[in-house]
């Protein structure tokens, strides 16, 4: 399915959706949102792009395989979980900077945990969808 309307719409929707997903990620600590939802929105942005332009094009924007996001995200999450151990707290304790940072707000270890979840979700969803759709393309040929 190659529709010019969808193609030109996704050109603008992709950055907006990515920005929105990042917004959801940042506000997730006290309000609805968070890493999982943000990651889903971000992957939906890429899925929309692959609907319009085909999965090969989307792979080109991503530059690397979505699979490589999974270990990165897991490592960030795992480190933020175990970091409090070094300071003598139980794992997963939230460690916070004293002062809020402009535009982002309070930064703490739970933000990095969410960031890891965000990356893992994008990686997993895109891997699954690309595996299915690329398989389909091969079968058609």
């Amino acid at each position: 399915m190659k529709s010019p309307i969808l193609q030109s719409a996704t050109k603008y929707l992709l950055p907006i959706l990515l920005l929105f997903s990042f917004f959801l990620l940042l506000r997730g600590h006290y309000y609805p949102g968070g890493g999982f939802v943000g990651g889903l929105v971000a992957s939906i942005a890429f899925v929309l792009h692959s609907f319009a332009n085909g999965p090969e094009e989307t792979m080109k924007i991503l530059k690397r395989k979505p699979l490589s996001l999974i270990p990165t995200g897991l490592a960030i999450s795992a480190l933020s979980v175990t970091l409090p151990l070094l300071l003598g707290y139980p794992p997963m304790t939230g460690l916070w900077f004293e002062e809020p940072i402009p535009f982002i707000g309070m930064i703490g270890s739970s933000l990095f945990f969410d960031l890891g979840v965000y990356l893992v979700v994008i990686g997993v969803v895109l891997t699954i969808l690309f595996t299915i759709s690329l398989n389909n393309l091969e079968e058609k040929r």
Binding site: L67, S68, I70, P71, L74, A75, A78, T82, L85, G88, Y89, P90, P91, M92, T93, G94
Partner: protein
């Protein structure tokens, strides 16, 4: 005692898996990381067990939320011993799979998923929160689905569909049970639940909820009417995977039953009778299935079912001696069943088949390895002084004591059938000459020495552990005695989690 480091075994496997994901497609590096990670896991588990023995039950409040509000992790003697034994079995499987798994499967991420599985097992043993237990169960089954399907041969995928459907169903039952339990008591902390459940007026509703848990764990641990998925799926994946599954996955179900039925739902008359009936039928059907199977791995699958019945019977009797038998059998079973499937993998490397009709002559060709295997088989059958003997003594003693003669008969039947099928397997696989019309393709003999050692060493490692348990039975019995007293009288567990009550 609060100790923030009790999740060590979980984190070790988590970081091992992450490192291996970073080294994606570099299979040699992954093998080294896996071996080192599993070895460190064993060391941490030993440290955890010795700490628990010194200082009593250790707890950790995740995120510094005090229990019962946050998620609590508890290491008592039962869970820390199981963590140790799981880590040992994990080390053996990890070493074995560096040769026993083909490169294609490693490229698709066999090792990271394997470590996620072991992480999930350790987490399930250590958690003190019923919903967290569900989450660890899901970690376990998702990893096991991937391991089951890796490689994607036809039989493997067919087995995986059955395995997947039944296990998701089990999780749904478990989740439903948790939902109802939360609705009744408003708590998820197992220690807190054990206090609150006594105050509930409608004990009938509690009984129904406990049936949901029994159903969920029953499917997972392959109890009589719910076990059909096991023999129709466990013979399909590669032997190293089957070893992890056969040795560990069904045992998590037993562990969860032990935990839930000792802490939350103390078995009443009805539950006890139900468990006894299930145990007897599980043993009978499992042994009948084992009698007719000629493929080694199918035979072992039915033996798993048969021996699950022994442990269920111990839970059903629910006295201290019976629980000692169950817990001891659990330890023995993890080591031996893992080893049995590793042996099946070794036999397949030696002969290219697992069908008893076309096997033979292994004793003539490899006498030393055969003697090692014989040791494991003896332990499975329960010849003294190996590890399989002692738990059966406890089970028999208690079954006679409280006049559960049907269970005694089932135990005798199960033990004799095990003896019979193992003896038949020994004569067919090891003593008999190779049938004249079969060409053997021996992949084991031409291998370089290092790889041959990697195949045999894990089996030797687990065999040594079995002999160690058997010979040092006095130490283990003392440990099991303490565990059983903690299971019967849970006040020390509750006190460790919630602090001193009044």
């Amino acid at each position: 005692m609060i100790d923030n480091h009790i999740l060590g075994p979980v984190f070790i496997h988590l970081f091992t898996a992450i490192l291996q994901l970073i080294a994606w497609r570099k299979t040699v590096t992954q093998r080294y990381i896996s071996g080192i990670g599993s070895f460190l896991g064993v060391l941490v588990a030993i440290r955890l067990l010795s700490k628990v023995q010194d200082q009593g039950i250790l707890t950790m409040n995740a995120s510094n939320w005090e229990s019962p509000f946050g998620i609590v992790f508890v290491a008592d003697l039962l869970s820390s011993t199981l963590v140790l034994i799981t880590s040992l079995a994990g080390l053996a499987v990890s070493l074995f799979s560096s040769t026993g798994i083909n490169r294609q499967r490693m490229l698709y991420g066999y090792f990271p998923i394997f470590h996620f599985l072991v992480m999930g097992l350790n987490g399930a043993f250590l958690t003190g929160d019923i919903f967290n237990l569900y989450v660890w169960f899901e970690v376990i089954i998702i990893s096991s689905f991937v391991l089951m399907t890796l490689g994607g041969r036809k039989t493997q995928l067919e087995g995986a569909v059955k395995y997947m459907a039944l296990n998701i169903l089990a999780s749904t039952f478990f989740l439903t049970g948790i939902g109802i339990l939360y609705g009744i008591t408003g708590s998820l902390n197992m220690a807190d639940l054990s206090q609150k459940i006594k105050l509930v007026n409608n004990q009938f509703l509690i009984g129904i909820t406990s049936m949901f848990f029994l159903l969920g764990f029953g499917i997972k641990s392959a109890v009589f009417p719910l076990y059909y998925w096991l023999p129709s799926s466990y013979h399909t994946p590669p032997s190293a995977v089957a070893a992890t599954f056969g040795g560990l996955l069904t045992k998590v179900g037993i562990y969860a039953m032990l935990r839930v039925f000792s802490l939350i739902f103390i078995p009443d008359e009805f539950t006890r009778n139900l468990l006894m009936i299930l145990a007897v039928l599980t043993i009978v059907t499992g042994s009948l299935g084992a009698l007719i199977k000629l493929n080694i791995r199918r035979l072992f699958s039915y033996l798993i079912v048969c021996h699950i019945g022994f442990m269920i019977g111990g839970i059903g009797m629910f006295t201290k001696v019976a629980l000692m038998g169950t817990v001891f059998y659990l330890f023995h079973d993890i080591l031996v069943k893992t080893n049995m499937f590793l042996i099946a993998g070794l036999i397949r490397q030696m002969r290219g088949t697992m069908d008893m009709k076309s096997l033979g002559g292994i004793y003539a060709q490899y006498p030393k390895i055969s003697l090692l295997i014989a040791l494991v088989l003896f332990s499975l059958v329960g010849i003294p002084p190996l590890s399989g003997f002692w738990p059966k003594v406890f089970l028999f003693k208690e079954a006679f004591n409280i006049s559960e003669y049907a269970f005694v008969a089932a135990l005798v039947l199960g033990s004799f059938v095990t003896l019979f099928v193992i003896a038949r397997m020994w004569s067919e696989v090891f003593w008999k000459d190779v049938p004249s019309d079969v060409n053997i393709e021996d992949k084991y003999n031409p291998m370089p020495l290092a790889r041959r050692i990697l195949l045999v060493m894990p089996i030797a490692l687990l065999a040594i552990a079995t002999v160690f348990i058997g010979i040092n039975a006095e130490v283990v019995v003392k440990l099991v005695d303490q565990i059983a007293s903690q299971l019967v009288d849970t006040s020390s567990y509750v006190e460790a989690v919630l602090g001193k009550q009044n």
